[in-house]
């Protein structure tokens, strides 16, 4: 077989606490990202993503503690994004136990930050995260500040540039679709995935398992990221793997199946 399509639950973390929480498992403290990470580890998630949405700079250190505690108990790859502005920020997260670091806004104003991180720590740990809004037929622009601010930068060209600068993975979020449950912007995902050799993670808009399948099959993504369908118990990681497998997409074997 070949490398498996990855299913990645994403947790929003603010000041060390999960914002959109998991409510499908019996957690003692549903706001603790470490406990939720453990639940996803046990559920067989292929990777986990923490997005740090802490507003104040002073509270940034809390994510390092979360990452450190997660890495002590979870033995799956962990990507951390949000507020990463420099190679030093990336270093702190990697030393705490993150496997990959996602850079977003900082790479809009200064794309070279991606090269800084890739040269120091390797492309394999440098994820470029791109938030995009559709501005016409087959055209998207990079947006910042949670989709509220337009930049005029062509999103596809920006993504490809960041890959050239050394990003080892592109996390592509449609801000038109984010939170709508109407599915990924497959044209956007495919427009980038078909033009780069690095893996693309589809993000933004998942409403059901069919959307995950479409992200891989039609969007040509290597991985699918989702938040609420997992957090609110609409689907399990096993459901996601089963739906992908039923569509003929290579995924990991179910836990316990040694065949």
């Amino acid at each position: 077989m070949t490398v498996r399509a990855r299913v990645i639950p994403c947790l929003d973390v603010a000041n060390g606490r999960v914002v959109k929480g998991v409510n499908f498992v019996d957690l003692i403290d549903a706001g603790d990202p470490v406990e939720q990470a453990r639940a996803y580890d046990a559920a067989g998630a292929d990777e986990l993503c923490f997005l740090d949405i802490t507003a104040s700079h002073e509270a940034r250190g809390t994510i390092l503690d979360v990452v450190r505690r997660t890495a002590e108990v979870c033995f799956m790859p962990l990507t951390v994004g949000g507020g990463v502005r420099s190679a030093e920020d990336a270093r702190a997260l990697l030393l705490a136990g993150a496997d990959k670091v996602a850079v977003n806004s900082a790479a809009v104003t200064r794309p070279e930050v991606v090269a800084d991180i890739a040269e120091r720590f390797g492309s394999q740990c440098c994820v470029a995260s791109i938030d995009a809004r559709r501005v016409g037929d087959g055209r998207w622009e990079v947006s910042t500040h949670g989709g509220r601010r337009e930049t005029g930068i062509d999103a596809v060209a920006h993504a490809l540039r960041l890959a050239d600068l050394g990003a080892g993975e592109l996390l592509v979020t449609s801000m038109d679709r984010d939170g709508t449950k109407s599915g990924y912007d497959l044209d956007l995902i495919r427009a980038i995935a078909d033009r780069t050799t690095v893996p693309v993670v589809a993000s933004g808009g998942v409403g059901g398992l069919d959307d995950l399948v479409a992200g891989i099959r039609d969007g040509h993504a290597s991985a699918v990221l989702a938040a609420s369908i997992f957090h609110f118990g609409q689907a399990s990681i096993a459901d996601a793997h089963a739906a992908l497998a039923a569509a003929g997409i290579a995924v990991r074997k179910p836990a316990g199946d040694k065949g």
Partner: protein
């Protein structure tokens, strides 16, 4: 008894590997950049992420470390595990951003993955097969997490994976084993491999 030495030469995934070894049952684990600790160790683990050349230079930058590894692993034969770039360093040379000399323990070179226009992506990132190509007590068939753009080509391959063609997943000879994938990130499969390493008597 000297326990397990996990070599600290600045590799970023050091603590993840330490955590996983502890979860696999390691009790006497030293994260160390001290060659004297390596000379006392009963088992040695060399982690590594990033570029081959930078890792090779960092390892050489620890005074006395290469000599200690050579003595303890090659002459005295204690069990050795290299992980990812730590595995690649066992080769003669790596061709990542120039050509850099490796430890030269296993005949071979580390070259960039080239899927030849296939739609396989580089880096090779994600869960993929570990398919043994010859019996080895540490390597069982299964799925593990890979994250790399360069791969080993040469002798003593004991397992492969498939990424638009066979790619080396593990190498080994005598008391030495190296794995391209990340056991510390491969959930049950990875922890079980580390458990076997902790028990291994080559």
């Amino acid at each position: 008894m000297g326990g397990i030495a996990l070599i600290d030469y600045g590799a970023g995934n050091l603590h993840s590997v330490a955590n996983a070894l502890k979860a696999a049952g390691a009790t006497d684990l030293a994260v160390t950049d001290d060659p004297a600790a390596v000379l006392r160790a009963d088992r040695i683990v060399l982690p590594g992420v990033g570029a081959f050349g930078a890792c090779a230079a960092a390892l050489r930058g620890v005074p006395g470390m290469i000599d200690a590894l050579e003595r303890r692993v090659r002459i005295e034969g204690v069990p050795f595990l290299g992980i990812c770039v730590g595995m690649q360093l066992m080769a003669d040379a790596g061709e990542e951003m120039g050509t850099h000399e490796g430890l030269g323990w296993i005949d071979g070179r580390v070259r960039r993955l080239d899927p030849h226009g296939a739609d396989a992506k580089v880096p090779h990132m994600g869960w993929n097969d570990v398919a043994p190509t010859r019996p080895h007590p540490l390597i069982e068939p299964g799925e593990a997490y890979f994250l790399h753009s360069y791969a080993f080509e040469g002798a003593d391959v004991i397992a492969t994976t498939d990424h638009a063609g066979p790619v080396t997943a593990a190498i080994g000879r005598d008391n030495m084993i190296g794995v391209q994938f990340h056991p510390e990130k491969s959930q049950r499969y990875g922890l079980a491999l580390l458990e076997r390493f902790l028990e291994w008597r080559p």
